[in-house]
Amino acid sequence: MSDAPKLIVSHAPFLHGGGSIVVRNGQVLLALIPAAICGMLRWGVPALAVIALSVSSAMAWELIFNRISRRPVTIGDGNAASLGLVLALVLPATVPWWMVVAGTFLAVVIGKEIYGGIGANPFNPVVVSVAILGISWKGYMDFDAMLLTYDPGFVMMEPLTAAKAFGTEAVARFSAFDLLMGRQAGAIGAPFGFWLIVGGIYLVACGVVRWEIPASFLAAVALVAAAFHLSNPQLYAGPMFHLLTGYTLIGAFFLAPEDSGSPVNFWPMLIYGGAGGLMTVLIRNIGAYPDGVIYAVLVINLINPLVDKIRPKALGRAA
């Protein structure tokens, strides 16, 4: 046996890295602000109202639940605010106020607090909320129907719906650059791919998001979409289209890597992200829904405890 040291760990006291829940949520909020600003500039005051209501009502629900459950008030940690902002960015700009309030209730109370609060939720709270909203009030989550009053000067048909209903002939109307810069019908912030990538890279650089999950998620979306496209180019859109439309980028950087619903080891993270990308394109291309990110993230949240069992073998021998 080699005498080379395999693992060196110093003993306490340890140097604090400066990280905290407040800092992490602040970084998430900061990463989302460019997309939020773009959304407000594109969709106007209604988008600002949705963002403001979503963030404030998310904080209010957390405060109310803290009081009811007689636990310390936690809205100062910024988690409710970041959940509210992510939720706002995946909603249409003209969504009614009561649906925003219902959405933040579902995210904060049903998605997080009833499990015990931050770090204890098995599913991404925003994904739980959007899934329930989409089933309960389908019409209000239909971007084509909700954006009838806007004329921003580009094709105002939701790209994924167009691709699913009309095939790649309709997809040809969207250029990759336009899609990347958010020139597409969609949610308040989710279409602004460039700024979501910038925000996502910032989170990876800060250590809030591990690169393995978004990288494997996006790689799987690209590979599976390419396979479908090669099998039938008239029916299925190409990988770039799938990467830049719908909730793909906000899902890869802000929904799938949520702390308590995602794995922490290397191979599990790759499997988790890869399964998310695979499910996304399967739902889009052969499922019932135009976008598959929400249900794909729910499914990978579900398999998270299972894949996280794949871990390095512990040193030594079990008794």
């Binding site: 407040v22 106007g44 005051v45 209604p46 600002l48 109202a49 949705v50 963002i51 403001a52 209501l53 963030v55 404030s56 009502s57 904080m59 209010a60 405060l63 008030v73 809205i75 100062g76 940690d77 910024g78 605010a81 700009a93 003209t94 106020w97 019409g139 239909d142 084509d144 129907a145 009838l148 009053t149 806007y150 004329d151 105002m156 048909m157 719906t161 699913k164 209903a165 009309f166």
Partner: protein, 143 residues
């Protein structure tokens, strides 16, 4: 930042954002332009998104209102298509509204086509006539 300060900041932020939201929802809700830009028809055979602006605008087909919309002579009010072209189950009841201005002897109720047939005839007929625009079901209906 001390936890107390964080909490105060959170309360302040929540209140300010709530006020912005109330003002935004109360005063700046999106209004449907006149004439409308696009129209959504939720049908039993999947929704149809109709681009009204492209048909009307100078940059599009520059159609006149009367090229598609028609009303009985002398009718000034801006009635909706469905007021006369009702759904099958409402057909006779809605068509009765016509009798407010017209003598029932002037027309045969059976000749008033239901709204879906009127739209199909109008859209597909025009697209066929000019050799442009969708004609197949799944070229308009999101199935």
């Amino acid at each position: 930042m001390a936890p107390n300060k964080q909490l105060q900041l959170a309360y302040g932020l929540a209140i300010v954002l709530f006020v912005i939201a109330v003002i935004g929802y109360a005063g700046y809700s999106a209004k449907t332009p006149d004439p409308p830009l696009r129209m959504m028809y939720p049908t039993n055979a999947g929704k149809v998104l109709f681009d009204h602006q492209t048909h009307l605008g100078a940059a599009g087909y520059a159609l006149a209102c009367s090229d598609c919309h028609h009303h009985p002579p002398g009718m000034e009010e801006n009635w909706a298509c469905g007021d006369c072209h009702g759904k099958p189950e409402q057909h006779e009841a809605i068509a009765e509204t016509c009798n407010q201005c017209h003598d029932p002897a002037d027309y045969d109720l059976a000749e008033i086509v239901k709204r879906s047939d009127a739209f199909h005839d109008q859209c597909i007929g025009c697209h066929r006539q000019y050799g442009a625009g969708p004609q197949a079901c799944n070229a308009c209906h999101v199935l």
